[in-house]
Amino acid sequence: MAEQTAKRPVSVPLMADLAARGESPEILFWVGCAGAFDDRYKRVTRAFVRILEHVGVSYAVLGMEESCTGDPAKRAGNEFLFQMQAMTNIATLNGYGIKKVVTACPHCFNTIKNEYPALGGEFEVIHHSTFLQQLINEGKVTAKGGESFKGRRITFHDSCYLGRANNIYEAPREVLEVLDADLLEMKRCKTNGLCCGAGGAQMWKEPEPGKKDVNIERTEEALATLDGDADVLLNLQGVESTAPVLPAGSNRGGSVIAVACPFCMTMMADGVKNKEREQDVQVFDLAELIASAEGLNA
């Protein structure tokens, strides 16, 4: 495969280098801690950069100058640590005269967009789902020429910090629509979406004792939706199937749980693994799906 596709190396532009040359990029890509360190989500970061390179938008990243936005500290109640992080980041961003920030993490998005302004950080902040939607609307991304998703089932798991927190429900769905796949909605979606279980700093601690972990509950619902499995759905409270049941033993054709958040990615992937469904169900971020469909994976 590789010998058939011409590929070119990407040198990701650093903000410090651009500033030294007196240039300013159109957008700053805020990578986030998960995007920089989590092995799985690094692939999303790289997919998103491939899209940025492909459409030729001028961008830069902070690299080692980026630091945690403070979201997990704030949600856990450590306001002091949050504000230390926030003011340091704001000083960095303001120092470079940044106007527009794009990020693939809804937690970074929410914090920079909603909580930084009161601390002196006024930026136009865009989540990558909205950014991808704009690229599609402008015709810069067509999702043709790469991998085809025809006949595959995709269900989108809403991120709380994108949806309920900031009212972004349509952008990720519009992005998925260009894939020409079978899109299925879970019963609990949009404003009624169920959390993946990792928000509010839960990502960094064991869950409190209970009957079940939240990500298992959510994964069961996602799998039941993808399978059209009425029996499983009946066990979930008040949930009805919307999709036809797949014949037993049929190849599910690589169904996808689509996410737009690093925490959701981890939680859904863990859930799929727990249910031993990695063979036929994959968890992908919107950026990965678009990069594949656009044929940008080198």
């Binding site: 949600r75 450590n78 640590l81 992080q85 340091t88 929410n110 700093a201 009957k211």
Partner: protein
């Protein structure tokens, strides 16, 4: 007009009823104002619009159609019956009889609508009672909905039936009285006309029954009015101010603690002037305000207002991912605890105090014995509940009257972390990772850009 001793009696009853309510309302207002100050001025048009949609228009109720429809009947019935209450008040004070009859056809429309709604209210109440006591609506169960809260919910339903029965007794007796006397009773009575057969043919008995119905209806309403402050049914009043003062910012936006902002700014810039600490009126230094919330007076007054507007419907808890998966957290319980605690610590305006209704009414009796820790945090709400929250905003989204349980949860987390350093250890590890590495995981900041190594893009 037949002015009589009845009118003087009615005046006394009405003054006593409204007076007692005003006295209770004053205490509740004082209870709400023990909360921390929060500037909610401005955005009046936006707030009024929201109140119109969410409180008057029941917008958020319609997320669940069956209860929305049943609730709408009772709600519209309540509003229309209030017009009749005006008539009853005037009749009662001035000895008139059905004084609104001068409205003519409009009066027939009013009484007719009222009768139909009255009958539908009885039907709705029966379904409500079934759903609550026999049916399997999960949100009507749960540890916080035993004892007084459970009794309270049923009492409201019973009272509503009694009020409707009184209304129909009054109308049907009056109708039959007029029929036997060969006179026309102004108004339309589609339901009472079906009931006249149940009433005696004796004129005196009918006159007495009409009076009994009339008095039972208005006295019932005045008693119910004074029951409200003890009850979750207080939401019929408090929903309106609560929606008016609800948050207008995105749900994901948490408040930035201002006192901490000053501290951090001073740390980052030594020339920054931190505002002088607050002083008491006599000039002495005021006690410092703690970070976060340990007790009800550490919450904002809007949080306390919310506690009084909660109708314990449990929509918040029924969508809470932690609660759904069997964890201890119930957003409804946090709100109910807040109200119980404020009533315990400050004035209890209640005629029916929750603590009178058995040990089950208290959530953590063991901890309540511990006077030292007897505050909202720990006395009522345990850290385990607070740490189970994913801050997903599902509870906030679900509340039909715009209560925000998440605000209180985060405020109590702030107290645990900033005042007591009592976060779970794994979260302390996360904090120190952020402090030392700029990331919640233990990775070196120098590896932050490694993802960009050997990155290729397919050339098309």
């Amino acid at each position: 007009m037949h002015f009589s001793i009845q009118n003087i009696l009615f005046l006394l009853v009405a003054v006593a009823g409204f007076g007692l309510f005003a006295w209770q309302a004053r205490k509740i207002r004082a209870n709400i104002l023990v909360g921390r100050d929060r500037d909610m001025s401005g955005h009046v048009n936006e707030r009024l619009w929201k109140t119109l949609l969410v409180a008057f228009g029941q917008q958020k109720m319609f997320k669940r159609l069956t209860p929305a429809f049943l609730h709408l009947i009772v709600y519209v019935g309540f509003i229309v019956i209030n017009i009749e209450v005006i008539e009853i008040m005037v009749d009662g004070l001035f000895g008139t009889h059905r004084f609104l009859q001068f409205l003519g056809p409009l009066y027939s429309a009013l009484t007719g609508t009222n009768e139909v709604l009255g009958a539908l209210v009885v039907l709705a109440v029966v379904v409500f009672w079934w759903r609550r006591n026999v049916g399997v609506v999960r949100r009507f169960t749960g540890p916080e909905l035993r004892a007084w809260p459970k009794l309270d919910a049923n009492v409201i339903l019973y009272v509503e039936v009694v009020l409707m029965v009184a209304l129909f007794t009054m109308n049907a007796a009056d109708l039959k009285l007029h029929q036997l006397e060969g006179k026309d009773l102004p108004g339309a009575f589609p339901v009472s006309s079906l009931l006249t057969g149940l009433f005696p043919d004796n004129l005196t008995a009918l006159a007495v029954l009409e009076r009994v119905g009339w008095w039972a209806h208005i006295v019932g309403i005045l008693l119910f009015l004074n029951y409200l402050p003890s009850s979750k049914h207080f939401h019929i009043i408090m929903a309106f101010p609560n929606v008016f003062y609800s948050r207008l910012v995105p749900q994901g936006q948490f408040s930035n603690v201002e006192s901490i902002t000053h501290e951090v700014k001073a740390m980052m810039d030594p020339s920054y002037q931190v505002p002088a600490p607050a002083t008491n009126p006599d000039g002495s230094a005021a006690a410092p305000t703690p970070f976060g919330a340990k007790d009800v007076d550490d919450l904002a007054w809007t949080n306390l207002l919310s506690a009084y507007s909660c109708t314990e419907c449990g929509r918040c808890t029924s969508v809470c991912p932690a609660n759904l998966t069997g964890k201890l957290l119930s957003p409804r319980k946090i709100i109910m605890d807040t109200r119980d605690r404020v009533e315990e610590k400050y004035n209890s305006p209640l005629i029916f105090h929750p603590s009178l209704y058995g040990p089950e009414a208290k959530h953590n009796p063991q901890e309540q014995l511990d006077k030292e820790n007897h505050t909202l945090l720990r006395g009522y709400v345990t850290p385990e509940e607070l740490w189970a929250c994913t801050t997903c905003n599902a509870c906030v989204e679900a509340c039909p009257v715009n209560i925000n349980p998440l605000e209180s949860i985060v405020e109590m987390r702030r107290f645990l972390v900033l005042e007591e350093s009592a976060a779970p250890n794994s979260l302390n590890v996360m904090f120190s990772n952020i402090e030392n590495n700029g990331a919640p995981w233990a990775f070196s900041p120098s590896d932050r850009f490694n993802w960009a190594d050997d990155l290729f893009v397919a050339e098309k």
